[in-house]
């Protein structure tokens, strides 16, 4: 074990002390110079230091009680090695290689644990965030943006949550891009479990990061801090779908505090799931019309437009052809698809629209046509009676 390793083992121990808190730990390190020194200091002395540093009597008592209970039960070396064996790496704020962007945070994490790798300093990174319960439209947009930003070489940073977050990240991985997932629990826990595929993919094509020690269970109160790190690691934040009241706002607020650009994907005014995005746009957020817009602006920020501009232009022209939802349907399919929507609609409602348009059709006929379109991949059936346009 090198000297640094030994110190890291003690840092790891210190980070795991329950109730102590990062601020108190930082203060102790400041006083003693190293975590090992703290380990070897009598508890009485630690208590005094904390009291002198302004913590209240009651708080200190609580901290010290937890400290005493914890002290004997933690095998410093074994636990540290166990973590390394799991492939989990840690990097302290005092070390080189700690993401510089995070240091600008109001309270940067003292230690960052990660699987895979950390985002490179030179890389452009976008936080792609949104609702967990999202619509077909949201799924499509998350996929489209994730995939194309990934292809442009922009890292996608997000919380690996269900819905927009996970879909966008997975799309980036699949298109060969990089993605970094910041978790609200220990990096050894795949939460939510349904995102196992992404968890494995992100480990390969980026990293799994967490400011919390391995083994920390996912807790609601940990997520806001996680969100601030998502905002901190990225150059811009892209909101795909969000309700008016949503956890997404925490990330957006933190990004704005840090002076980062916020983009929102516009939605229809009647969609409650797009309320948040539309509101952001009214408040001055950038309107994300194509992934390339965002890419171009980011590269400009990074002073790299020279290298990438060409690619960006190509992408825009490509986009023209791929423009969302427009495809070459013929004859009846073309006609029928104009009555379909991106959100699933019941067959009854579709039929009514068709009749309003003056076309003659019976329900069985319509169902037949729709099922045929589904079979040909031109429409999507949700449940038995709901149909929507196929987007991707």
């Amino acid at each position: 074990m090198t000297v640094e390793d030994r110190e890291n083992a003690y840092r790891y121990w210190l980070h795991n002390v329950p109730e102590l808190g990062e601020r108190a730990a930082a203060r102790l390190v400041e006083v003693y110079g190293s975590a090992r020194a703290i380990y070897e200091t009598p508890q009485k002395e630690i208590e005094e230091i904390l009291l002198k540093s302004g913590w209240r009597q009651k708080v200190v008592e609580k901290k010290m009680q937890a400290y005493t209970g914890f002290y004997g039960n933690w095998k410093v070396k074994e636990n540290y090695e166990k973590m390394l064996d799991q492939g989990i790496k840690m990097i302290g704020i005092w070390e080189d290689g700690y993401p510089k962007r995070l240091k600008k945070l109001h309270s940067p994490p003292m230690i960052l644990y990660y699987l895979g790798s950390l985002p490179a300093e030179t890389d452009c990174a976008v936080a792609l965030i949104g609702a967990r319960e999202c619509s077909e439209y949201g799924v499509y947009m998350a996929k489209a943006f994730g995939e194309r930003l990934g292809r442009e070489g922009i890292s996608i940073i997000s919380g690996m949550a269900r819905g927009i977050d996970g879909i966008g990240q997975l799309a980036a991985c699949r298109s060969g891009g990089h993605t970094y997932a910041v978790l609200g629990c220990g990096v050894d826990i795949c939460y939510p479990a349904s995102n196992r595929e992404l968890y494995e993919a992100a480990r390969e094509r980026g990293g799994i990061l967490s400011p919390f020690p391995p083994g920390t269970e996912p807790k609601k109160q940990l997520f806001p801090y996680r969100n601030s790190i998502v905002a901190g690691l990225s150059d811009a934040v892209l909101v795909v779908e969000a309700r008016q009241k949503s956890g997404t706002w925490i990330t957006v607020d933190m990004a704005l505090e840090q002076g980062k650009d916020v983009y929102a994907v516009p939605g229809r005014l009647t969609d409650r799931l797009s309320d948040g995005c539309n509101l952001l746009i009214r408040q001055g957020a950038g309107i994300a019309l194509t992934p390339e817009d965002i890419a171009a602006e980011l590269f400009m920020l990074k002073n790299r437009q020279g290298e990438k501009k060409e690619q960006g232009e190509n992408a825009s022209s490509r986009d023209g052809k791929e423009k969302v939802g427009v495809s070459e349907r013929e004859g009846q399919d073309e006609e029928l698809s104009q009555f379909l929507d991106l959100t699933p609609k019941p067959a009854d409602a579709i039929l009514e629209k068709i009749r309003e348009a003056g076309m003659e059709m019976t329900l069985p006929q319509l169902l037949f046509e729709l099922v045929r379109m589904c079979m040909e991949g031109k429409a999507v059936q949700t449940g038995g009676n709901y149909f929507s346009k196929k987007m991707s």
Binding site: E136, L273, T343, L367, C374, M375, E376, G383, N385, Y386
Partner: protein, 514 residues
């Protein structure tokens, strides 16, 4: 003197004739009854004795023995009061033996000699008729019920005195004492109330209802609160064909045994509709008790059993439906023996698509895929297996409700159903099947052959829509019914496509691809 009087009793759903034997012989005075009797039958002796006394007829101080034959079947109920009283009177030589011959007596006596109604008259009279008996004497209240049996001369009395007078009267005066029940012409056709015309929109749900009614398929309706799931289910009897004479008797028999027959209108051609609350116990559903009474499923025989808020029912309760749905009857075993009640009903379930009720409208629904899945998985697979048709009832916009428009009425829908049923009848002539719903996987080849085009379509559909093998038979079965509704001999592509929709709604490939 020895006498024997004809009566009858029910045993579960079966009825049988009982010989009431009365004998009077010298010895210690007593009123002794034998023949495997339950408590209320034994009490009968006391009622008869007091009733006769109050009419001024005193029993002689002799040994009176009463036997109900066959003596090895346990007798229940109060229907033996009247035959015992008549038997006693014959034994006392107050009545002539010949006068009572060939008449079936049923009725309970009051202490003043009044004759009171009893349960199960219809099945008993029916069994008697099958045994060649052509005359019966029943309580006044049970007159219409017994009168449902053709070929039977039904006499109804409300007091024992009338019975005595009738039996004493000469042949020409008899009809003046008690006149045989004259069957009234069937009351006018029952209306279509409630009518499907009350339902606005919901075209697909109505269409599914017609198909379900045509093939007697079980149906599941899914939809947000207030979309009219219950309204649709309640209107099912109005589009099902009216009960046939035979069916009507079956239904009335079950109700008669349960003591739930409508006195004024015992014979109805309208199909039963039952919607038990979801707190119902398994025994109330199948029929329970020491000697089981018909439960809800038997009361919905030949009709509709509607289970609203299906996932709210206890799983055990729902699982009990499995056997009756398969066998069309329910068998209940007790220490006394096994009882079998008919239970050939159409199951209609209604449920919300997710806990909040609004899926797939993501503007309102915030249920997680997991929540939706666990809500659906409340229903056990075997029950869903027996439901062929599943349909979603979307929410109706307020504008349409206020427009005052009327939907298609039940009369025209029923015509469609009847036509489809006729086609099935022709097809299944001489087989044990009645409806398409009865077809098993092995019968598909014979009754639901597919053309090459259709077979190809099924293949592509199964691949592109990712359907399970289990779906195959269901889809074809329902497509057969759709073809019948559309009066097509062959199953065509559009029939298959529509049938797939009714299958998919139940399969719930929630959030596929996400």
């Amino acid at each position: 003197m020895y006498s024997t009087i004809l009566s009858g009793a029910i045993y579960g759903m079966e009825s049988y004739l009982v010989q009431v034997e009365v004998d009077m012989s010298p010895g210690l005075p007593c009123f002794c009854m034998v023949g495997s009797l339950s408590g209320e039958v034994k009490e009968s002796g006391e009622r008869v004795r007091v009733a006769l006394k109050n009419m001024g007829i005193h029993l002689p101080p002799v040994h009176i023995a009463v036997n109900l034959s066959p003596a090895d079947i346990r007798k229940e109920g109060t229907a033996f009061d009247l035959p015992i009283a008549v038997g006693v009177l014959v034994s006392m030589e107050q009545l002539k033996k010949e006068e009572t011959e060939g008449i079936l007596f049923i009725g309970e006596l009051g202490l003043n000699g009044e004759i009171r109604p009893v349960k199960g008259v219809l099945p008993i009279v029916r069994a008697a008729c099958e045994n060649g008996i052509r005359k019966c004497l029943v309580p006044k209240e049970n007159e219409r019920e017994a009168g449902m049996i053709n070929k039977m001369e039904v006499l109804a009395a409300s007091h024992l005195q009338q019975v005595i007078e009738y039996l004493k009267a000469g042949p020409d005066k008899k009809n003046r004492v008690l006149s045989p029940y004259q069957k009234k012409e069937r009351e006018k056709e029952e209306g279509y109330s409630p009518d499907f015309a009350d339902i606005i929109g919901q075209e697909s749900a109505k269409r599914a209802a017609v198909i379900a009614a045509s093939g007697f398929h079980n149906m599941l309706i899914m939809g947000p609160p207030g979309s009219g799931k219950t309204m649709i289910a309640k209107r099912m009897p109005s589009i099902l064909p009216p009960l046939s004479e035979e069916e009507s008797l079956e239904v009335a028999s079950v109700y008669s045994i349960a003591g739930m027959l409508d006195e004024k209108n015992p014979v109805t051609r309208k199909r039963p509709f039952l919607n038990p609350h979801h707190t119902i116990s398994p025994y109330a559903l199948t029929g329970g008790g020491k000697r089981p009474k018909p439960g809800i499923i038997s009361l919905s025989h030949r009709g509709v059993l509607f289970l609203d808020e299906l996932p709210e029912f206890k799983r055990q309760t729902l699982d009990i439906l499995r056997q009756p749905l398969e066998d069309k009857k329910v068998q209940i075993a007790r220490t006394y023996g096994t009882f079998s009640y008919p239970a050939d009903f159409m199951l209609i379930g209604a449920m919300n698509p997710c806990p909040c009720g609004y899926y797939p409208d993501r503007n309102k629904c915030r249920c997680t895929p997991y929540e939706i899945h666990s809500y659906i998985s409340h229903l056990s697979g075997p029950i869903l297996d027996r439901i062929d048709i599943c349909v979603e009832a979307p929410k109706i916009e307020i504008g349409r409700l206020q427009s005052g428009e009327k939907g298609v009425n039940s009369r025209s829908l029923r015509e469609k159903v009847m036509a489809a049923r006729r086609r099935q009848k022709e097809r299944y002539e001489g087989t044990s099947f009645r409806f398409n719903a009865d077809l098993g996987p092995g019968d598909m080849e014979k009754y639901c052959p597919l053309g090459t085009e259709e077979k190809k379509m099924m293949e592509t559909m199964f691949q592109s829509l990712d359907l399970s093998a289990r779906a195959y038979h269901k889809v074809i079965k329902v497509a057969r019914t759709i073809a019948d509704v559309e009066s097509s001999r062959e199953i065509k592509e559009e029939h298959l496509a529509e049938a797939v929709c009714y299958y998919r709604a139940g399969e719930k490939v929630f959030d596929g691809g996400r």
